[in-house]
């Protein structure tokens, strides 16, 4: 299967409120020669409904995989939740014939069938495995050596380890490597792999925001100029909610939160406007001046 052509699986959170991630990801992928084909039709990956019905999650995920199989294309996602779910279900159904038959009974009602012939990968997995680090590095024309940033992977691109099988959940390296490819320094900090809290929003907002605040505190302590995320939900927790957290806990962070493709895009020489920087909530003007000034 062609390694430079993918079916783009947007998920729900990105079209709902995280446009900057999509805009910047499409820009950098275009520059790296990755061709994107839109999904023929869409349904949620299934992850949000796993807590209420595992069966429904399996059907929703399998349905997307079956649609991708019809197109004969591997899936790329920007959301780790979608990537994790599609990957997990793909593996489960491939390995468990009884489960596959059961889910296929449901899909058959709509004339679909899961066969297990495509892969699903998150953006950073595509960058590191298919595009390749060298090509990413070669695309950098304006190294961001003036920046010291902190990474945040999010949970579902890494866990549960046995089903996801990507990177090391206790010490993930891929995002760091990709950040360093832009010339920026990636700082270590306490509890780097800790959850952002997003899944608890709607059930208990206070706990969710306390978790996000904890991480912002750690990042502030190491003087990171920005936080780099690869998940729409994590981004909402730290960028959209940063002001809310500041008010709630009487703190001042002012830490810009960029989507990784925005960082790479800057290093590729793209303008902040092209990368939808104006969609971000936290003020990025100081950061962009530092990038412009080169010091």
């Amino acid at each position: 299967m062609a390694k430079s052509k993918y079916l783009m699986f947007l998920g729900c959170a990105i079209p709902y409120r995280v446009a900057a991630f999509e805009v910047s990801a499409r820009k950098i992928l275009g520059k790296l020669g990755v061709e994107l084909v839109e999904m023929p039709e869409f349904n949620c990956c299934g992850l949000p409904l796993d807590p209420v019905s595992h069966e429904m999650m399996l059907i929703l995920a399998a349905r997307n995989l079956a649609l991708a199989e019809q197109k004969g294309l591997n899936i790329i996602t920007l959301c780790p939740g979608c990537a994790g779910t599609l990957k997990k279900v793909n593996k489960m159904l491939k390995e468990d014939k009884a489960l596959r038959d059961e889910i296929n009974c449901h899909l058959k009602e709509a004339g679909l069938e899961f066969k297990g012939t495509v892969d699903a990968k998150h953006l950073i997995q595509v960058l590191i495995e298919d595009v390749g680090l060298e090509k990413v590095k070669d695309s950098v024309v304006k190294p961001l050596t003036m920046l010291k940033v902190a990474e945040h992977n999010g949970c579902h691109i890494l866990r549960p380890k046995e089903l996801i099988g990507f990177d090391d959940p206790e010490d993930p390296k891929t995002l760091k490597t990709l950040i360093e490819a832009t010339g920026a320094t990636c700082l270590d900090y306490m509890d780097e792999t800790e959850c952002c809290g997003a899944p608890s929003v709607g059930v208990n907002d206070k706990i969710a925001l306390q978790l996000a605040r904890d991480k912002l505190n750690h990042i502030k302590t190491v003087d990171a100029q920005a936080m780099i995320t690869i998940c729409p939900f994590c981004h909402i927790m730290y960028d959209t909610n940063e002001l809310r957290i500041e008010k709630m806990f009487n703190e001042a962070y002012g830490i810009p939160v960029l989507h990784y493709p925005q960082l790479l895009g800057l290093a590729m020489g793209m303008k902040p406007e092209e990368l939808a920087f104006n969609e971000l909530r936290v003020d990025v003007s100081k950061l962009l001046k530092q990038v412009e000034g080169g010091a």
Binding site: A19, R26, P48, M56, I59, A110, P160, G197, P199
Partner: protein, 174 residues
Amino acid sequence: MTEAVQRPIKSSEIDSKFKYEISKMHGGEKLMRCFQCGTCTSDCPIARFSDTYRPRQIIRMTQLGLKDRVLNSDTLWLCASCFTCTDRCPQDVEVASVIRVLRNLAAERGHVPQVFKEQCSSILESGYAYKIPELRLKKRETLGLPPLPKGNPESLGKTLRTVHFLKHVEKKGE
């Protein structure tokens, strides 16, 4: 689950078959391996900020057969599904999956936070878990993004026809 612990346990509320019921379900198979080391609770990001959410306690109550206490508890819904407990459990209990099995059973009883019903009804209607505002769709054009793929509610509905949980959702959505 503090409130549940403080209330004395009566032998009549113990369902000794509950653990076997859970162990037969996909994701709950390894429930009985738990030896209560507490790694799950000490590593749980939610437990750090919640006074009541303790995964070890949920597992133990399940092993003990305190079915109604576990399934009717709001605490069950605090899990963020980060899978840290699953990855670090020395007994490979798959704690997060056991909790998911319990939540699925609670949901079957209709005991489920509103947010899940809303997401479910939105998916049935449009394919997307959230109702994407018209403004956002228009903005896609301004931002140079391609039109969003549409859902196929009819086809989706066919595949989900027999899913039990929908009985708690469809009434609300219509």
